[in-house]
Amino acid sequence: MSGSPARARVSALLLVAPLFLFLAAFFVWPLVMMITVSVTDGTVRQVMPETASAIGAWDGSGLPPKEVQDALIADLRAPSEQMAFGDAVRRLNSEVSGFRTLLSRTTSAVRDLPPDQTVDLAGIDPRWGEGRYWQALQRAMPNYTDRNLLAAVDLKRDTEGSITADVSANRVIMVRTFTIAALVTALCALIGLPYAMIAAASTGWVRNVLLLAVLLPLWTSLLVRTASWVILLQNEGLINKALIAVGIVDQPLQLIFNRTGVVIAMTHVLLPFMVLPIYSVLLGIPRNLMPAASSLGASRLRAFWHVLLPMALPGVASGSLLVFMVALGYYITPALVGGAEDQMISSVIAFFATGTANWGMAGALGLILLVTTTALYLVYGRLSRSPNMVGA
């Protein structure tokens, strides 16, 4: 018979259970999956078990011995589940382009031959005479790999297994992503702080209009918003026409399809994430602090500098964190109003996740992004000396 304290514990657990389930389902599990998928690599071994055990002994130079080739033929002859085979092919092709056609051609050729006939792989396709396809096979056999993680930072393993540079731009794009996110955050803070102050100081319909104006971009479809920015910012757009009309410039300024356009458009849509936290912090500041500062001899400017600004800073800090984090994930806006040098890392992740179903790469890039962001956050938390600023 269970006593009532135990009962109370159980019901308490039941009450918080939905929260834990929610966290587990929508935060922990995806995170674990993302990490797992970026380092596991068992798909090829699964459909080519004989090759897997035979190729381990090969030293990787020249072409593998006959046993390995025979093992591969045996594996290809054995009927395999089509989807699992597809996964293996996708994995191999992502390392060496052309593996897909090579394997499909070889498989159908091998299966067409009578089982006891010897097969000359290089005869079916001359590519089997090249070492790199065999090496790729060998590298695909272990259950775990650092290949995706290396590729995410523009590195790969060469034939000897040592790490070398790869042809890709993930590092550049990653740095660019952080730069753009930081720039947008800074601009949001610069605009958002005075905006929130005006909103907090105003009353009645003025306040409502101000808040509505800042929330509006969140409710507008991305394409409508982008189209509006194009109308405003393009060479024959309103801003350029106005600038030329008043004689500030005589050539239209390039305001869109470059970094300027991306930063303007992202700042616009992310502004509410900055304004609202600051606004709520400002509302929490007692009304009599500014009169108090004034009575103690502070002019408006000094009262702002010494009293209002330091007290609004926690709002700016949490707003900045929000804007920065959200900005890191943007890719449609840079794609639509940016130039070639403004693509952000999410577009690369999306390419791998949806475009090529290479979830290992997508996961690795996501992991690198997560680790970098966490590191930045820790540094930021240390610098600002206030550990509770998000929750406050």
């Binding site: 589940e81 989807m83 790869d166 993930n170 994930g329 943007y330 070639a340 577009s347 390419f351």
Partner: protein, 351 residues
């Protein structure tokens, strides 16, 4: 054919994984057809979905997507997919067919393979439309019309910026054609490492003058605003905007690349039989021939193509005059190479 990416997607594996969760099971779900959204899907609703729903006496659900084999993979691997019929691009057809994501097509139910264009026939899919990516310009602004990709590259004769879809697909093909490669030899050249280098080198020349676009509506607004003087664009969009907004946008058919979008049935679809019936319905010449009235896409069913009035014929990629000098997108090439070439393309862009 990625029409528009209207959804802000949080990038990364989370999406794919989320889709796997969302997949779930659906027992008595109605037939669900997925296409590319926008005007195109509106037209499909009128001429395919609604009449078919009336015919079978059951609702037909329709959704839209933005493409990507990863989405298909996630749906299929979830067990029972919550989509039945999906309209896919060439590479998704090739990849998914090889990887077993689709049901096999019952060609007998469609009246045999020879009723269709050869390129529209596959084990796993039935061609739905033929569409082109082509050199386009605003004829009201450009008095001397450009006629080739060489003109597109010629910034002295045609000063101004050019619009290009971001990504290696199409960019490399067009670059090679601009560099003098005959259209029918483009994929042969591109199949060699030297050919890829050559294409990138040619792109280097134009790089400072390129405005990259992503969504299909963008090149039109770029042309309309004069932001670019020429752009690659989808033929259906060009005809559409000329009709609705009275523009005079023209396209250059020689050197254009056409591709086929196909209907596929997702593996283990609970409505596979009804799905097949739907595809047959949408492939009937009487039904299919109504499409060009709404949007200028070519028809893979030869009988249907013949029933299209001459006035509409001139805008279709499948019209004989428009096929001269045009090539088909090589899905197999891109399936093999898209990852490596995208990686290289991104690196080239970032340079």
């Amino acid at each position: 054919m990625k029409v528009t990416s209207t959804l802000l997607r949080i990038g990364g594996a989370g999406l794919a994984l989320g889709l796997m969760v969302a997949g779930g099971t659906a027992s008595a779900r109605d037939l669900t057809v997925v296409s590319w959204g926008g005007n195109y899907q509106d037209a499909q609703k009128k001429i395919y979905f609604e009449p078919f729903s009336k015919k079978i006496g059951k609702p037909v659900l329709d959704e839209s997507w933005d493409g990507g084999i990863g989405v298909i993979a996630a749906k299929v691997k979830a067990g029972v997919p919550n989509w039945d019929v999906v309209q896919v691009e060439t590479e998704e057809l090739e990849l998914g067919c090889a990887d077993g994501f689709y049901e096999k097509i019952d060609w007998a139910a469609l009246g045999g393979k020879d009723k269709f264009l050869p390129a529209a026939v596959s084990d796993c899919g039935v061609g739905a439309i033929v569409w082109s990516t082509m050199l386009s310009y605003d004829a009201d602004r450009l008095k001397t019309p450009p006629t080739s990709w060489a003109d597109f590259w010629d910034t002295t004769k045609f000063p101004g910026k050019r619009g290009f879809r971001r990504g290696p697909k199409y960019s490399l093909e067009f670059a090679l054609m601009a560099d003098g490669v005959k259209p029918e030899e483009v994929y042969k050249v591109l199949g060699t490492p030297e050919g890829v280098d050559r294409a990138f080198k040619k792109l280097d020349e134009l790089k400072p003058n390129i405005v990259w676009w992503e969504a299909g509506a963008q090149p039109l607004s770029l042309l309309a605003s004069g932001e670019v003087v020429m752009s690659t664009a989808y033929n259906g969009r060009l005809a559409g905007i000329n009709k609705t907004e009275g523009k005079n946008f023209q396209g250059v058919w020689p050197g254009s690349i056409y591709a086929i979008d196909s209907w596929v049935i997702l593996k283990d679809s609970p409505n596979a039989k009804e799905a097949m019936n739907f595809i047959a319905f949408a492939s009937e010449p009487v039904n299919q021939s109504k499409l060009p009235d709404y949007i200028a896409y070519g028809l893979p069913n030869k009988e249907a193509a013949a029933m299209v009035p001459a006035a509409l014929q001139k805008n279709l990629p499948t019209t004989q005059a428009n096929l001269t000098g045009a090539i088909a997108l090589d899905g197999a090439f891109w399936v093999d190479n898209v990852e490596e070439l995208t990686k290289r393309f991104n690196a080239w862009l970032a340079k």
